[in-house]
């Protein structure tokens, strides 16, 4: 049984509010007047058929795409034009659908790289790698080792990630995002291509992250079983428009959602 989340408890502090956002590439409309609130402490699932604009949604949130219209408010501040590194500074971390790890680096270095923004020692200390620079390195190593323990990847600490199996790579990528100690974690299909056991592990990690660290999570996922079990709230997109925004149980019964996924029943007029 899960503890009641922010949403269920009726606390509605929006950590991030997307209002009336539209995004198009040339003539293709990826998002049309979409508004979504992500509340502090919840796990929000974004689902929808292929090409519905789910990934575009995440890309807008962390600054890869600039929407043509609409507003995004994060931690009470409205943002115009934001670069991805500014999103990172603000506390938004992200994983990708098809892995964006630093393949030539070890697991340890990948996760340490996630600490980049937290490290302060300047260039000249880096040259010496003694005193404060080494102390800082050790201090962050300690945090990273905690994440490594948490994700149970201690054995592959010094393996180049390019050589790891897919499931472990996904875990390392989650580790790198966690190393940023984000307020908002965006996961783009964290369980794509995984077998049942790996999915169970990943689900457990996601719930643990949400409960132990209190991280707000927005995830895209196609496995409906996972979505319904994990999330506090589900947003459904179809053809770039939001067609539902409710608890998992309500979404399951929603006519529009059923129509989007299964198509029109025969013999009914529109």
């Amino acid at each position: 049984m899960r503890a009641p989340s922010a949403h269920e408890a009726g606390l509605g502090a929006a950590l991030l509010a997307v209002e009336d956002v539209s995004l198009s590439f040339g003539g293709v409309r990826a998002l049309t007047n979409v508004s979504v609130n992500i509340h502090k402490g919840e796990i929000l699932a974004i689902i929808g058929p292929n090409g519905a604009g789910k990934t575009s949604m995440l890309n807008v949130i962390n600054g890869f795409y600039q929407p043509q219209s609409g507003r995004i408010t994060f931690k009470g501040e409205e943002r115009r034009m934001m670069r991805p590194y500014e999103a990172a500074q603000g506390g938004i971390a992200r994983t990708f659908q098809n892995l964006a790890l630093f393949r030539g680096m070890t697991t340890l270095d990948n996760i340490m790289a996630g600490r980049t923004l937290k490290m302060r020692r300047g260039f000249f200390w880096q040259l010496l790698r003694h005193g404060p620079a080494l102390a800082e390195e050790v201090e962050h190593r300690r945090v990273v080792e905690e994440i490594i323990d948490f994700l149970e990847i201690a054995a592959i600490r010094k393996v180049q990630v390019g050589r790891l199996p897919y499931g472990l790579q996904k875990r390392v990528e989650l580790g790198r995002a966690l190393a940023m100690e984000p307020d908002l974690l965006l996961l783009d299909e964290p369980m794509a291509g995984m077998n049942l056991e790996e999915k169970e592990d990943m689900s457990r990690f996601i719930i643990d992250v949400n409960q132990h660290y209190g991280t707000t999570i927005a995830l895209i996922e196609h496995d409906m079983g996972v979505v319904m079990d994990l999330s506090d709230r589900v947003v459904v997109l179809d053809y770039g428009q939001k067609i539902a925004d409710a608890t998992p149980d309500e979404v399951k019964r929603d006519k529009n959602v059923i129509r989007a996924y299964l198509g029109e029943p025969h013999g009914t007029s529109t």
């Binding site: 670069r83 630093f102 340490m112 490290m119």
Partner: protein, 358 residues
């Protein structure tokens, strides 16, 4: 059997993150340093010092410079020769204006000039990548080469248009110029290269090295964890050019003793790039391997027929040398596309588990 880390437990993270975490490696590096600092100078072999070791170390340093940029940060460059030239000309101007300041200070300081020039020519790297960046840096190469030839002020208006290295002493001992002994110059070069290699390895193992490698492996994800691409790339260009600049200054002041602008042409850039690729991208030791293979191997080959007593004309030997080095480069690249450093790593791994296969 001897090369095993079994039983060497680390009790803190600092020990685990040390440059040479394994005892045998520490012994190995101590032996190498002892040979370099004591045994080679004691041998007193002028040919070994002047024709082999000094240029080898200098080219290795230039290769480290390029490796920081290409191997660690993933930015291709064909401007190495020109950046080395900037160091050499900066050093000449500095020691002309301030002849009383220690020449070693100026050799290091000239690196800052090439760092600035390198960062300037690194600006296009924000927009262009890969081979296109290579072509952009080629523009730097040609432009700077033109400057070296056409701006007489750079070479102190000497009629020949060459750099003429003045004599400079350090505590009464001549370091540069015709009176400096190879031993002095060797020890100065060796000290600078050892210290700068240590500094470079510090840099690449820490935050900045991880930022560079992140940009190299996936710039999109790098930006996502808060790395600012332009700054990171420009820093790589600056540090890389700094190393190349110091190598260039040493090349002229501590080896040639005078140089034509031709020394810094595009051939030098290519040779450095070959050293880095053959030695191993993204490894410190690879830069030394690459420099050894490209620079020392031909010299060694030239000595082989004489040592064996084969009656070959010097011209034939030279032709053969090109053929053999060319073939070896191809063989090494086919055997191990990741460079000699990777072969070294595999060798160490084999040694670690010997006599078992794994």
């Amino acid at each position: 059997m001897l090369y095993r880390e079994v039983g060497q437990y680390k009790t803190n993270y600092a020990a685990d993150m040390a440059l040479f975490p394994i005892l045998q490696d520490r012994i190995g590096i101590a032996v190498i340093l002892a040979i370099a600092f004591v045994l080679i100078p004691l041998s007193g072999n002028d040919f070994l010092l002047n024709a082999v070791m000094i240029p080898f170390l200098i080219f290795a340093l230039a290769a480290i410079g390029l490796n920081l940029l290409t191997g660690y940060c993933g930015q291709l460059s064909l401007g190495t020769g020109a950046f080395m030239g900037v160091g050499a000309y900066a050093c000449l101007k500095l020691t002309t204006f301030f002849p009383n300041v220690n020449i070693i200070v100026w050799i290091i300081a000239s690196g800052f000039f090439s760092a600035a020039v390198g960062a300037l020519f690194g600006l296009p790297s924000l927009r262009i990548k890969g081979f296109y960046l290579l072509v952009a840096t080629l523009a730097a190469q040609f432009f700077l080469e033109w400057c070296f030839i056409r701006i007489p002020w750079l070479y102190n208006n000497v009629y020949s248009g060459n750099i003429v290295v003045p004599s400079r002493t350090l505590a009464g001992v001549p370091v540069t110029g015709p009176t400096a002994t190879s031993l002095t110059r060797y020890l100065v070069v060796l000290s600078i290269v050892v210290i700068m290699t240590w500094v470079a390895s510090n840099l690449v193992r820490g935050r900045i090295g991880r930022m560079w490698m992140a940009v190299r492996d996936m710039d999109l994800a790098a930006e996502l964890i808060g790395i600012r691409l332009l700054r990171t790339k420009l820093l790589a260009f600056a540090v890389s050019s700094f190393y190349c600049g110091v190598a260039g200054a040493m090349l002229v002041f501590l080896w040639y003793g005078g140089a034509e602008p031709d020394v810094f042409n595009v051939d030098q850039s290519f040779i450095s790039l070959f050293m880095v690729i053959i030695g191993g991208l993204g490894t410190m030791i690879g830069s030394f391997f690459g420099a050894a293979l490209i620079y020392i191997l031909p010299i060694a080959l030239r000595e082989v027929p004489a040592a064996l007593g084969l009656p070959l004309y010097p011209a034939t030997v030279e032709q053969l040398q090109f053929v053999i080095v060319g073939v070896l480069i191809i063989v090494f690249l086919v055997l191990e596309p990741n460079g000699l450093a990777r072969l070294w790593q595999i060798g160490k791994q084999k040694l670690r588990v010997w006599p078992f296969p794994y």
